[in-house]
Symmetry: C2
Subunit: 131 residues, 2 copies
């Protein structure tokens, strides 16, 4: 049993974000103490961590919400597996895109280093990334 501050730290997110997730229905309405302070337990942390992981993948909140609801309904693995596979495909694509970008950045830097170092000339910036 811990406070919202502790929960947030453990999930690497801000306190207002946790409250926001509750307001949006991604986190269940938290139990409260006498004074109104929210109290959380281990399952809440697990849920929040899941939300954050999916957010790191840029899965939008309403998709996460639907997914969590699906899981609450005790749906069979098939749908869960499909969802995860979808995320893995998205990850693969993004890694490829990032590698592409990295390559063109490195090409430009090589260009720049050989072409510009002698004089303090400016780099040919647009040529670099636009091809």
């Amino acid at each position: 049993m811990f406070t919202i501050g502790v929960l947030a730290r453990r999930a690497q997110c801000s306190v207002p974000a946790v409250r926001f997730y509750e307001a949006q229905g991604l986190m269940p309405p938290a139990e409260r103490r006498e004074g109104g302070h929210r109290v959380y337990g281990r399952p809440d942390l697990a849920r929040l961590l899941l939300i954050r992981r999916l957010r790191d993948l840029d899965v939008p909140l309403d998709r996460i919400k639907a997914f969590l609801k699906l899981d609450e309904g005790g749906k069979p693995c098939a749908e869960t597996l499909a969802f995860f596979q979808e995320q893995r495909d998205a990850i693969r694509q993004r890694i490829e895109a990032l590698r592409d970008l990295d390559l063109s950045l490195s090409l430009h830097m090589a260009n720049c280093q050989s072409g510009c170092l002698p004089a303090a000339k400016a780099c040919d910036l647009y040529g670099a990334l636009s091809t």
Copy 2:
């Protein structure tokens, strides 16, 4: 010389986005025809492509703006190289994070496939990503 629609298509972005970049000072105020329609040339496309590439890296608009201005001033390579190196570091970090995520997704899926297939039981969702 081409229209905003053609420009946008070539840079894989929306027409309003191009106008938005102009309003924000990332694109220079475009030349206009008699009727008021914007006209663009090759350098505009190069600039827009650069902006989009950097946006794909989640570089915020004001950072891109500062960078473009730096380049316009004809600053020496050193600063440009530093900027690019920074982006490459960011790319590397993001690729690693994505690989991490992919790993934990795959572990979960393996778990799920062996544990849940016989019965149509639900997966242990929270345990999957939260550890």
